[in-house]
């Protein structure tokens, strides 16, 4: 009898132990996208990417997050680490983050780039690879949101390895792109750490509008080189407005961001004619995007549609061997299968050309049609 009672007590204890949820939680989330693209005479299915996000809630104060990007390109499977960091919640308004994280340099790279969030199949000019401004880096960050009466603000201050200057002396790093900044290299190229931050204001009581200002400053030259003291100032301004508009019977979403990069003047070696040259090293890129999604229409089909338009511009410095001015228009029609699954049909055309001051017209026009699907999970 005593044994039976003991077993019953043990079983009850085990069952109640199973019912207790415990503090630790693991969740696999992420997103994926793929599609077909038409560029000129070429039509091809593209592998897109698969981005698993690993979330580990260690306790009420600690969260670990990591995202991988698995891409299939040119017959190869590429795996990259988007971010991997640990966050410690200090109090209601402050969180400390350590590791590799998406930089709050504007909002596109930090929040809006995932394929199921980005309203178009492509990224704006200057906001992808080899763009103007960083997307992620290694370091430490303090961030949070603060209520201000009816309004609200968010802040972030961080210290990271920072960008590195391509000074043209390394033949493996495209010497013709001397003066360009390289991002997300992993290890720092000098002992200087870059300091940056972002502050944003949400002045309306329903948080529908946000205006953000970002800055990043640090030395970018390689240690013990003649570029050691070359520094760079990077800045961004972003705007967001999302609201239901009664007379349009729908939701209007406006997003915009301007990125700028200023690198100290320096003299570089031209590998083509063995001369030295310098230029005013300033780059910029911006985009303005507007989307409209009907709501409360007569059919679910109409309520699932979304119309998008975007204009973006990219300007690389005059006098550099990589000088360029580009403009791009993109238009899209999306069909939302559910809140996180979308089929995107878009058309874009871009002009790639020299600086207007040189009196030349665009060198090429790149038209493209995309039919992509994307989903978050």
């Amino acid at each position: 009898m005593r044994k039976v009672l003991l077993i019953l007590v043990l079983c009850t204890a085990m069952l109640s132990a199973q019912e207790k949820p415990g503090e630790s939680r693991f969740l696999l989330r992420g997103y994926a996208h793929s599609g077909v693209e038409v560029r000129g005479d070429e039509t091809t299915f593209v592998g897109g990417s698969f981005n698993p996000i690993f979330l580990w809630r260690q306790s009420d104060k600690l969260l670990f997050e990591a995202e991988l990007e698995v891409e299939y390109e040119n017959g190869e499977t590429l795996i990259g680490l988007e971010y991997a960091n640990m966050s410690y919640i200090i109090n209601d308004y402050a969180t400390l983050r350590l590791g590799k994280f998406l930089l709050p340099f504007g909002t596109f790279a930090a929040k809006l780039h995932p394929a199921w969030i980005n309203r178009l199949s492509s990224k704006p000019l200057g906001f992808g690879h080899d763009g103007v401004g960083p997307a992620r880096d290694l370091g430490v960050e303090l961030r949070g949101g603060i209520p201000l009466g009816e309004a609200k603000m968010t802040y972030s201050v961080y210290m990271i390895n920072g960008p590195a200057l391509n000074d043209g002396t390394n033949p493996n790093v495209e010497p013709e792109e001397a003066g360009m900044l390289l991002y997300d290299l992993g290890e720092d190229n000098n002992n200087n750490k870059a300091i940056g931050g972002r502050v944003s204001f949400l002045p309306l009581s329903n948080s529908s509008m946000e205006i953000g200002f970002s800055g990043l400053y640090g030395k970018v030259g390689n240690v013990e080189s003649k570029y050691e003291d070359v520094a760079a100032l990077l800045y961004a301004v972003d705007f967001s407005y999302v609201s239901k508009v009664s007379f349009l019977s729908g939701v209007v979403d406006i997003k915009a961001q301007l990125n700028g990069v200023q690198v100290d003047d320096a003299s570089y070696f031209n590998v083509e004619d063995s001369s030295n040259y310098s230029f005013s090293n300033k780059s910029s890129a911006y985009y303005v995007q507007m989307s409209y999604r009907p709501v409360n229409m007569s059919t679910d089909f109409l309520n699932s549609l979304e119309f998008v338009g975007r204009y973006s511009e990219l300007s690389f410095p005059e006098g550099a061997l990589w000088t360029s001015d580009q403009t791009q228009y993109a238009f899209g029609l999306n069909y939302w299968v559910d809140w996180r699954t979308v089929v995107k049909l878009s058309y874009q055309f871009a002009d790639t050309g020299a600086h207007e001051s040189e009196g030349e017209e665009g060198e090429a026009s790149n038209d493209a049609i995309f039919l992509h699907w994307a989903f978050g999970f």
């Binding site: 949820p21 939680r25 693991f26 969740l27 989330r29 979330l55 809630r57 969260l63 997050e65 966050s87 919640i89 209601d92 308004y93 969180t95 983050r97 909002t107 930090a110 929040k111 809006l112 199921w116 969030i117 961030r143 949070g144 949101g145 603060i146 209520p147 201000l148 009466g149 009816e150 609200k152 968010t154 802040y155 972030s156 009581s205 329903n206 948080s207 529908s208 946000e210 967001s240 999302v242 939701v251 979403d253 939302w336 559910d338 809140w339 996180r340 978050g376």
Partner: protein
């Protein structure tokens, strides 16, 4: 040495006023009384469509809430209310 002292003084003053600023920051009565459903509708759509409550289980919403609190710089009060609403509605 003097420059060092000035820098230290400026940092101390900044921290002092920063702490005062944080201590004085409170939501208005109207903001503080917003229900989770309203906060869910207002905050999620700033970046993406508002998620369906049935997309995740209660314990999963707790992880998602923590993740989004950091990603979107939401306050603790906002996240608690949103997660509570999603857990109740799923």
């Amino acid at each position: 040495m003097k420059v060092k002292h000035v820098k230290l003084f400026l940092v101390s003053v900044s921290l002092f006023f920063g702490a005062l600023f944080l201590a004085s920051c409170t939501p208005s009565q109207a903001q503080a009384s917003k229900p989770g459903a309203l906060l869910w509708g207002e905050n999620c759509v700033r970046c993406h469509n508002a998620p369906s409550p049935s997309a995740f289980s209660d314990s999963q919403w707790e992880v998602v809430g923590k993740h989004m609190r950091i990603r979107a710089s939401l306050t603790a009060d906002e996240v608690d209310k949103i997660v509570e609403f999603l857990k109740m509605a799923n």
